[in-house]
Symmetry: D2
Subunit: 411 residues, 4 copies
Amino acid sequence: MIDIGIAEPSIEEKEEIIEKCRQLKEVFAKRAPKYDKEGSFPVENFEDLKEAGLLGIMIPKEFGGFGADFLTYTKALEQLAMGCSSTALTFNMHNIAVGSIAELKLEGIGGSRGKVMKEFRDWVYDQSINQKKVFASASSEPGIGAHFSKLKTTYQRVDEGFAINGVKSFVSMAGYADYYVVAAKSAESTSEVPAISYLVVEKENPGTRIEEIWDVLGMRATATNPVYFENCIVPKEALFLGSEGMALYKIAREPHWLVGGYIGVYLGISVATFQFLVEFLKKKKIPGTDTSMSEDPTIQYRMGELYSALESARGITYNAARLVKEKLGSQEANNAIHHAKYLVSELGPWLSSQAIRMCGASSLAKRLPLERYYRDSRCAGLMPATSDDCLSYLGKAAFGADLSKPSETYW
Amino acid sequence: MIDIGIAEPSIEEKEEIIEKCRQLKEVFAKRAPKYDKEGSFPVENFEDLKEAGLLGIMIPKEFGGFGADFLTYTKALEQLAMGCSSTALTFNMHNIAVGSIAELKLEGIGGSRGKVMKEFRDWVYDQSINQKKVFASASSEPGIGAHFSKLKTTYQRVDEGFAINGVKSFVSMAGYADYYVVAAKSAESTSEVPAISYLVVEKENPGTRIEEIWDVLGMRATATNPVYFENCIVPKEALFLGSEGMALYKIAREPHWLVGGYIGVYLGISVATFQFLVEFLKKKKIPGTDTSMSEDPTIQYRMGELYSALESARGITYNAARLVKEKLGSQEANNAIHHAKYLVSELGPWLSSQAIRMCGASSLAKRLPLERYYRDSRCAGLMPATSDDCLSYLGKAAFGADLSKPSETYW
Amino acid sequence: MIDIGIAEPSIEEKEEIIEKCRQLKEVFAKRAPKYDKEGSFPVENFEDLKEAGLLGIMIPKEFGGFGADFLTYTKALEQLAMGCSSTALTFNMHNIAVGSIAELKLEGIGGSRGKVMKEFRDWVYDQSINQKKVFASASSEPGIGAHFSKLKTTYQRVDEGFAINGVKSFVSMAGYADYYVVAAKSAESTSEVPAISYLVVEKENPGTRIEEIWDVLGMRATATNPVYFENCIVPKEALFLGSEGMALYKIAREPHWLVGGYIGVYLGISVATFQFLVEFLKKKKIPGTDTSMSEDPTIQYRMGELYSALESARGITYNAARLVKEKLGSQEANNAIHHAKYLVSELGPWLSSQAIRMCGASSLAKRLPLERYYRDSRCAGLMPATSDDCLSYLGKAAFGADLSKPSETYW
Amino acid sequence: MIDIGIAEPSIEEKEEIIEKCRQLKEVFAKRAPKYDKEGSFPVENFEDLKEAGLLGIMIPKEFGGFGADFLTYTKALEQLAMGCSSTALTFNMHNIAVGSIAELKLEGIGGSRGKVMKEFRDWVYDQSINQKKVFASASSEPGIGAHFSKLKTTYQRVDEGFAINGVKSFVSMAGYADYYVVAAKSAESTSEVPAISYLVVEKENPGTRIEEIWDVLGMRATATNPVYFENCIVPKEALFLGSEGMALYKIAREPHWLVGGYIGVYLGISVATFQFLVEFLKKKKIPGTDTSMSEDPTIQYRMGELYSALESARGITYNAARLVKEKLGSQEANNAIHHAKYLVSELGPWLSSQAIRMCGASSLAKRLPLERYYRDSRCAGLMPATSDDCLSYLGKAAFGADLSKPSETYW
């Protein structure tokens, strides 16, 4: 079990965090159809998140944040996603940057290395909490996805700091976020396992260019666009935690940040789907009668199947989130994350498809959220680790492979 | 085997019909994104269908049509749906009216009854072939679906002919079609099995009113809206085939018209999905390599699963369509229709969901058709007979029930 | 959280209980083929269980037992079942009687009622721990299964105590167990919810007769035979806990005893199946090569699917067992039990079927345990609550039904 | 369409062949439990097959056989397997040898090559029809399965003819069949695609040795044992059709013989399973009532799912068998065979597992055939082409690979 700060929140404080998100859910749910229809970024929702102090959800209490552990965070995302999954997804992108720092125990690291790390951390915390700045993640690349070991984007030491060159696909919040956290390969590195580092780029950096092409099936309000980095110059301090070459190892050993946040988001969609289904069927009558569909034994039997699938995914997700805290970086925790990611990802399309089948044609209407759940949920399995990567990892682990080695994974 | 006319088309003529549709598919495919986005009716496509003489596809050759049998018709729909499934679906609605007449052997029916029927038939044929008029089907009702025995819409004898009162939900081509074929219950009937008849209503009839609310997940270009019939007066000649009370029996005994046309349409979507998937994966590279995804043994294995499911649905569909001709109205043919409807309906959402999973995030874009296939295909199982009704019918049939009795079905 | 005695075992003591069973597993595994082949009762295994003191596994420490909680018990059964599932299953039958008593807080019950209950409890504990006597459960009846509300077996007050009449199907350990715990309906009761009570019958009671017909697919060594009770006279003290009419309420409110024990048993079979599969594929070579099947990417991908299913069932099972202790009798705990029962029951046949498919024809041999796992695991879903009852309960619960009312369940 | 002889049987004659098998089914069904229990070869059933002239089922009418086409043959196997699947499976082994010859058009082949082939054919026909001799197939090898290109068994020219050395696993009818048809690799061949030929070995040949180890899950009465060929000398005439090196090409191009016969056999098991299920549920009452389970709407719904799966497999199987005749050796026919083999193989374990679940615990008894269907059906997917090979072939074919090249298959 890791020590995430002297002041871990109490059970009541954890419940308060989730309750904050539960309240935002109601507000977000009303706005979701508009953002979905337009494919526009949910700026109002982010104003609310900032207002509620949630940009600091992962920042330890002694630094002014809420100090959520991974389970509380997962449940918070679940609530937000029930209202607007695009908001929850992009909010998670911010927390990937912040949360991965919050997990580190920097106090024990001395010397100039420790100093640089702490300064970087303090800057990120200040930006998040006081300046209300939002961090975006820029990792995936065309034809490569999130396979870090294959990245083509490079950074090179120059007088002013570093020059970044490359193109990132699928950068959520492109145009809204204040900073991009860019994964790039050292142009000088010659090692077999490539030296992948993160660099922070300001939104206004003249070396960046967004291509606005996001018009897709689901998760339409995430503004997930390609960003070009063309001789993009950043200062030395832009190097994430002042450390080079750690990104690939970190992902292989602790995949919960890159992988884990999606789980809470997509679980939330399925929970919302199931709740919708329950209420819809309770109101719907068996054709030609006054009896609720919820009284039909065949409907009950099938609801049992859906309930079983949903509760399996939920139980496994919560357990995985607990293990992230209790056994950070262990094979057990990592397997649990991949297991949960796979389950939740493939649950959604099936569950929402079955829900439409059970509700009938009137449930297809845009004025109801079910059709959006159907569209949004299909995106889960495409995000890292994809459903197929998860299965391969789990299968390898079953045969005893050590997945903390980057060579064993597809990263 | 029924005699569908002295001049059944030759194998070459059948192939010509399908080929005509194959060519239209290419044209329709280009227009599909626009109609889907706007949710507007594909007027241009219907101009092409009229131009190609396809409003008479089911009309026997000796009456100037193409005389397609049900298998040829199914394959024709499959082609059209590969281009634009909304067009294929609404085109099927026209053929439900026309095709069910074309199947009848009226020559043997004498007397005034035979005369009335032949006059009605000739009028429909003339409207379809010479006047290029389109017939729409108005059967489903709010809270009832297509369960004919529960219909609330009534018709009543009045001096001018009949007065129709009621509301029909899900009338495809509402506002475009020239005629509505309305299923209604005789207001005078007191029998246990209600007397359901069809009446033809002109689009411009002042007793009709369309509510334009169709804004939905998929099949967006079908203009499927509620139509209100408020003291809607039609002449005596509007009675379909001049016959009262036959609708419910006909559906139970020969469900292929109400049920069967959907199968070709939705099969077409799945065929298009699979073709897209094959081409996409051939072009896509395994991340970080120059090798096509199609060379990946795991991908091949999974494609085998998808191929198997698609070919099962296709094989069962063609067989069912063949049986409709060879054993019209038999339990064997009807089971086959319900079997095919179920298989094809539930294939589509799964197949397109798997295809997105295999293609990855770049396949979500609106400029590619895959996301539309995912949305459109989910509508299949909601159309009559729904997937759940099909399973119940098949299960009852397995236990020996006689489904030609309306009391055994959910119609 | 209930108080199961002042001296709950420590974490180390719990692990010791499980370790005891792990060691027995090895011994049982060697004997399993013989008992399976003959369909004979595993007498030697029960000698070992007695020797290890495990007849008192559920009895509180202060009464001389091991005081296992439900999670520890579940893990103990899992281990035993990995060696011999027939032994684990019948061992569970004994613990249904003992464990349901151990859960009660009798200290607070005063008067003569409390005295009778405590005397009964002490007698059961003494029989189990000191006299090494085994209790069997006689609940199911022909054509009724374990649906308690439909039971036909009756008991009637007579001078000597009670007279029991009826036939019980599927009495495991028939002929081996020292006592039958018989569920029977009061012959005098006229209430709508029938008064079902348990009575303890000695094996040698002349009013009992066993019909030895157990020759079945799987779980062959459980000696599960019909037992006839024909004017079977038992003393007043034979009334379970001295209480009448509580059985049906107890099952509906706390189904973990009747339902829950099966989960650990059948989970054990699936864990053993998966372990077998891992080792088999590691040793097997890809045909014509020296490379292990475990290196094949498609095999890894599919192992991921199996691992995911197994770990879902395991995670949900452990969570359910935990809830039984933390929230005894709550809807949450009961739903979790039914969820776990369903998952584990339907996992086994699928997992073992896939394992045979992946291992190939050489895995069919009787000298390997896989084919036995395939046979034994199919029995799970037939035991109460059946897979289908579980789904119905879960579906009803999803719609908000209160399943603690016997009228809502199929008991 | 190939010409399988001037005197193709009439529709009535085909039906007579199937009817013969339907009658034998009844007889076989009564004997099946004994053979299954003992694991002994069904000698009586083969006496009946011989008596009925069925050893010549594939032999053209002008040569004295029944001249069955592949569809008729498939339906014949289906009937036999409904009675005793071990008998049907081993009967198919005989027909692999005979039927592959019957398909050839030898009349057009002149010269000494044609003469040798015709002599071999005539000998096989005479042995089958007049001498009532049975041929067994010896193809699979330990660690290799039926992957012909990896075979280790060799044959070498010697003075007396050929010397065969190697070991064959899974030789059905070992000890009963009169001849083994052994697939072996030329010891002299150095080509990349190995020269695989068939040689016929008499049962009594002193160079053969059977190891009697067959004690397995299912298909217990097939006497499928390893046979060792140790310097086993056969005359020149033993070379199958007098041709060398054709086996691998033949399998890749026309897999229906090695693959296709299994389909009819395993389809028969599933048909029998479904019929059993229908009858069982009709008789079984809903617990505590007098209403048949067949009246339960949830049961009907689920029966619909099972019916759908069974009829899909049946429809695809019959279509594949038809294509074997109409388009022998085409990719379409071969895909259809692999598709059908996969569907039928994986249908059986699922269908029988569901059937047990629906019938309940009383259906597990050995005196009922259901538990045997469950065991026997699991063997299908392990026989060539395995379920996994089928999926890989279908996937490759979907991407356009030419599977008539041995290099593209796993043979």
